[in-house]
């Protein structure tokens, strides 16, 4: 089967680079074609990369607490750019401090994210979700 393409990166002015590298290797090892945009990635860069590479999903990381602000409008911009229905995930430390995660999840769902993950989620959880959503069989 053809490899599915993921665009990954750390959104906004966020420079936390370590988790991004770990995700890059974990996704590549799991058989995905990974386009890694690194840190400090704007919404436009995620979208442009997804268009050129015909990506199946955009995986956004946010570690520094500004995730909610940085992610706002991403889904609408994807629609605008012809990426209707592209899978959108977000994870890391997406909000400040400790907030009940089901609340957070609801808010990100409303913003158009298909899935959001609480702090400390292991890459395996993410990979399992991707396989389910992209209908990949082992």
């Amino acid at each position: 089967m053809e490899k599915k393409t993921l665009v990954i990166g750390v959104i906004g002015a966020d420079v936390h680079a370590v988790g991004n590298q770990i995700l890059y290797h974990a996704f590549s090892d799991a058989g995905f074609n990974v386009v890694n945009l690194g840190v400090m990635v704007s919404q436009e860069e995620f979208i442009n990369a997804a268009i050129e590479t015909n990506a199946d999903a955009i995986i956004v990381s946010s570690l520094y607490g500004q995730g909610e602000l940085d992610c706002r409008g991403l889904r609408e911009k994807c629609d605008e750019a012809g990426l209707e229905g592209i899978l959108l995930y977000v994870g890391g430390n997406i909000v400040i401090g400790k907030q009940p995660f089901d609340e957070v999840e609801k808010r990100f769902k409303a913003m158009g994210f298909d899935r959001s993950f609480p702090p400390g989620t292991a890459p395996e959880v993410d990979i399992a979700a991707l396989k389910e959503d992209l209908h990949i069989e082992d």
């Binding site: 906004g12 590479t53 520094y64």
Partner: protein, 463 residues
Amino acid sequence: MKPVLLIDFGSTYTKVTAVDVDAPRLLGTANSYTTVQTDINDGLADALDKLEQTTGRLVFCEKYAASSAAGGLRMLASGLVPELTAEAAKTASLGAGAKVLKTYAFKLTEDDADEIKRLNPDIFLLVGGTDGGNTDCITHNARVLAEIGGSYPVILAGNRNAARECERILEGREVHITENVMPKFGTLNIEPTQKEIREVFLNRIVQAKGMTKASELISGIMMPTPSAVMAAMKLLAEGTKRQNGIGDLVAVDVGGATTDIYSVAEGLPDDPRTSLKGLPEPYIKRTVEGDIGMRYSIHGIVDAAGIEKIAEIAGLPEERTSEIIEMFAANTDMLPNDDETQRVDEALASMAVRTAVTRHAGRLEEVFGIGGLKLVQTGKNLLNVDKFIVTGGSLIHTEHTGRIASYGFYDEEDETSLKPKHAEVLVDRKYIIAAMGLLSEHYPDAALTIMKEELVKDGTCSK
């Protein structure tokens, strides 16, 4: 003595340069006015007559030519995302010496189709999608090109997974398939496309533009004039096995209709902690500002710099400055003929240089985020480039070349722009750079020696 002749067929002038490659030196230069109507061989004969009046009779062992006649190598390009494959297509074409009439992004529209038909380019460069990436756009665009027809060749340098399908869609057309300009996301792979453009130029365009007759007289290398300039600048910067080059450089060529900027430098950040954004930059880069030129595009300079600034540099009232600008615009052959017109011409040249070098150079911006300042560079860092080459009519015929050139330097009022901080200005007074690029193909050492001799210093400047 071993005389070699270098010819540049331009759109208004045929220019000849004679050199001795045995004891490398310039023997002489001459040019003759040519028009679309005149046979280019008449222009050549006329220029040679003039040349021999100064050098005496010469028997040339070899003759090489470059051409920008008949509008140069006119190209159109289309890609997918403006900042990505469309930009890569433009960069590739400019670097191959083409005149890029327009670059399209995303799917071509009906209006685009009409425009392409009207512009009828020499070559169409069709790209889009990384390998394995998007195929919709490039196949759609191939269909549009197939529908409008035309006899120009199409170079396909997009997503390899769509190449054969595009070729089928364009059946009956001359199609050249080459490697993707962006095989992987964020990488730039423009050399294969440039090689293809050069071959198409040689095999087709030279003939189509009525240069076959001339080419019989010539030993070889017909290339677009800007390619010859690039070859010369690369040689001058890098040197040969036997001779050192002068190192990284920026070159400006301010023309009547456009302003070309060349840089030979890696252009990486000074501080390794700086993050790089945008497409990787080619080591040898050419940009062309179609709205910045001393006559046909004079209003573009005014739009970019403002009439106040031009008047201030000229030291004349705004009204008088405007009057003179309108005079230049209406009489595109007009040369400065008194103090006032000279001042305005130089002020315009200064602003042409500033605008075009600023657009060519990268930027270093500070991003304020939580946790402090982050530096982000886009484009090339030319701060440390210390050679600044100047060519083009309006800059080589004035005594104030150094002063005009300094407007292309780092400017505290625009501190994020990564233009050279301190550079030595070298002026191509005899207008030989393109000729030396041609010569460099077979006689690089001679070409380098002559350039080092003939490019004259006009002070070291910094702003």
